[in-house]
């Protein structure tokens, strides 16, 4: 009885064949390559900004990370506001979402989306609905890593 339920009816089989015939193939390889190239370009831009801070200001390799990240997020926020980052996102997929610029995009796009609901309830309440989880898990992961690092340091590793 149970086996009979799992068997597909001839109609379902025909439908499946039809679905297979018309289904658009996901261009996985293309997506991977485009993501790699666009993500790499964003990282190269980040490296250039980092060198800018090192060369013209008193930032070392170690301390230039903070202003670099802030600049990248600011640029992506501006681009999101102008509607450019959405197009980059559609073209590059994960290549534009995974770098830190994706964080700025997530904040601003949510703010724009909920603007009509009011400044406090709409923008303020929904601005971090996506980025909030990133911050939460980021801080928590940093906390756990710091504890592990401290414990290993105390043991003498």
């Amino acid at each position: 009885m149970f086996v009979a339920q799992k068997e597909k009816t001839p109609e379902k089989l025909v439908l499946k064949q039809l679905e297979k015939k018309h289904e658009l193939k996901r261009p996985i390889l293309r997506n991977c390559i485009v993501s790699f190239l666009v993500g790499g370009t964003i990282c190269a831009l980040g490296q250039a900004i980092s060198f800018f801070y090192i060369y013209f200001f008193d930032f070392t390799e170690q301390t230039s990370g903070n202003p670099t990240v802030a600049t990248l997020i600011f640029i992506s926020m501006l681009l999101t506001g102008f509607g450019v980052y959405d197009r980059i996102g559609q073209f590059a997929g994960a290549g534009s979402a995974v770098p830190v610029t994706g964080f700025g995009n997530a904040v601003i796009s949510a703010a724009i989306e909920h603007k009509t609901e009011g400044f406090v309830q709409g923008v303020g309440g929904n601005m971090f609905k996506m980025a909030g989880s990133v911050i939460l898990f980021g801080v928590f992961a940093a906390f756990v890593v710091a504890i592990i690092h401290t414990v290993i340091g105390m043991i003498g590793g």
């Binding site: 390559i33 190239l37 090192i54 060369y55 008193d58 930032f59 070392t60 390799e61 170690q62 301390t63 230039s64 903070n66």
Partner: protein, 156 residues
């Protein structure tokens, strides 16, 4: 259309692969050729201690992972800054620690600041250039050295 896409991808792939290729034709620079020693100590005005410098050179040459070394000897502290070969950058902290240990063992009376940070290298190079051009007095250079050492200790 498909042909065009194929050639576009082929071009991008070729660009990517050739970009990653290392330049084997470039002459390998030995540490000896690239090492620059600047002596800002008061003793250097009377005549530099060649023996001490040779010892320093020998220790630095024992580390094949580093190149473009700049040594600035100040009255209180000596700054050693260098670049690390690309594939050895994962071991940067270990190289720094080992070099500092060797130097402290060889010159127990001196204090050393060892850094592979690009900013420190850049500022040391700028200081050297200014000294070579005669734009900086020894006293000002000593103060600048202290500032660079302070900068190398900054964490945030």
């Amino acid at each position: 259309m498909k042909k065009r896409t194929f050639f576009t991808w082929l071009f991008l792939l070729t660009l990517l692969l050739t970009g990653c290729q290392m330049d084997h034709t470039a002459p390998s620079s030995s540490t000896d050729e690239q090492m620059q020693i600047i002596d800002l100590t008061d003793a250097s005005e009377k005549g530099s201690d060649r023996n001490c410098e040779r010892n320093l050179e020998e220790i630095i040459q024992k580390a094949p992972e580093i190149y473009d070394v700049i040594v600035i000897k100040g009255n209180e502290e000596t700054l050693i800054t260098y670049k690390v070969k690309h594939m050895q950058r994962f071991r940067m902290k270990k190289i720094e620690k080992e070099l500092k240990e060797q130097l402290t063992a060889a010159f127990p009376e001196s204090s050393f600041t060892v850094s592979s940070d690009f900013k420190i290298y850049l500022e040391s190079n700028r200081l050297k250039r200014k000294l070579d051009q005669g734009d900086l007095s020894r006293e000002k250079a000593e103060n600048r050295l202290k500032e660079i050492i302070q900068l190398s200790k900054e964490k945030t």
